[in-house]
Amino acid sequence: MSNSDVPDVDVPDFDVVVVGAGPAGSAAALELARAGRSVCLLERGPYPGSKNMYGGVIYGRVLDSLIPNWWEEAPIQRWVTRRSTMLMTGNQALTVDYRSNTWGEAPYNGATAFRPDFDAWLAAKAEAAGAVLICSTTATGLLRDGQRVVGVRTDRPDGDLTARVVICCDGVNSFLAKEAGLYPPSDPANYTLGVKETIALPREVIDERFAVRGNHGVDIEILGCTGKVPGGGFLYTNAESLAVGLVLSLPELAKCGRRPEEILAELKSHPAIAPLIEGGEVKEYSAHMIPEAGYKMMPELIGDGILVAGDAAAMCLAAGIWLEGVNFAIGSGAAAGQAAARAVQRRDTSTAGLGDYRRRLEANFVMTDHRKLKDAPHLVMSDLAQQQLPRIACGVMEQLFTVTNPEPKPGLRKIIRSQMKLNNLKLRDAISQGVKALRTYG
């Protein structure tokens, strides 16, 4: 407010209003506060993180530059030192299991954490840097001057907040970005629903069942556990609980005639999963949407006086073996904060003045990864990956390890061919999909 020499009745309440104190919003507010801008961080929940659920692993490398030695203080559950990918059918499971003890030492790789803990911690960092955090307040719309966004309306009495820039970090439904006209009409095929149970178990039981010690933990991604609905499953270890959940394609879920908790119950009773969760008690059930299609569904990121970051901009990376949204939210939120701070300082918060946001995203992992993996969400949701791959992989293993004496052992090539045939996969299609996968992930 000191950046105007003449007293000005048009001086806004804040340089910037950030809507949503998830990881994107808190990272944006932190950068703005550090740059000396006045910033309000608005959250509709009673505390940051209270509305937020996810699978369970945060990849912290993006925090290194924001909060040095963050691992000494971040409220985490366990450091992930084992990552497994499981392909399953009704009664089979093939698991690729990788363990790295390097991931259990500073600077670490990923950690399980509860979002109500983690989000509140990150928001407190922004607050400590000077951001004004206001909880229990829902932004209900945008304030405009012509086309220009000049603030937000809230559900508090006299709750209008004016600002030079509004940063929408309001998550997957982002009504603000939609209201600003930055999104085309939404297509449910771009979204998935996540459901999850947090299941309480004693620490020692988890250590034994998952073969980990101390604060080390496990991340299991599962394919082939969602029936006819394209999607996937996950199982993560917290300190004294497990997170078991599913991600389900919206239109197919709506059509399939089965409810999410029924599909989840089937996963929980699978012979590869049931012994891991046995005796545990459901501590919390939760649900949330994911902007699954990533790059291909991203909105316009910049408007006159407005920026969009995190899930609000579909920046969650859902590419099968990777489900990363928190790190992309922090990366994009920080970039939005830096770009807004610069624009405010230069007194040009128009679309052009805020253009630095896109340049920053292009220069770091956010857009680079998303562009590179733009076909991955579609590939992962394809029939081949969802139905044929798990069945063929498990079928091959079954045949390979079933001893058929006195019949001689069949050759591997023959087994693969017979399994492909059994699952109606033509060699031609397998090769073309394989090439596509190599191009996407390569």
Partner: protein, 99 residues
């Protein structure tokens, strides 16, 4: 395939594990008249909180109180204007603790 060793919990006890600070004001309303014409009824299977209950006369009974605020229902809804959706007033609605 479900075994007796790990009995599934009822939907009620599943939902009783979640804290809801229920607002007096409904944040979602459903126009049952529109639902009568709907052929897909995706909300019934997709809503994770199971809040859309079909009635005998072909309508839908809806109660907003135990809602995750996920957005699935308006996304899959077939009939323009059947669902009016917004977030609950600040500080109300679902509150997660260990998710």
């Amino acid at each position: 395939m479900s075994t007796d060793a790990y009995p599934e919990i009822s939907f009620e006890s599943r939902m009783s594990s979640v804290e809801f600070r229920v607002s007096e004001q409904a944040h979602i309303t459903v126009d049952g008249k529109k639902c009568a014409d709907c052929s897909t009824r995706g909300c019934i299977t997709a809503c994770p909180a199971n809040l859309f209950v079909p009635t005998a006369d072909g309508g839908i009974l809806f109660n907003y109180e135990l809602c995750f605020e996920c957005g699935t229902c308006y996304m899959v809804c077939n009939e323009e204007g059947a669902i009016t959706w917004s977030y609950p007033e600040g500080g109300h609605g679902v509150v997660f603790h260990s998710s």
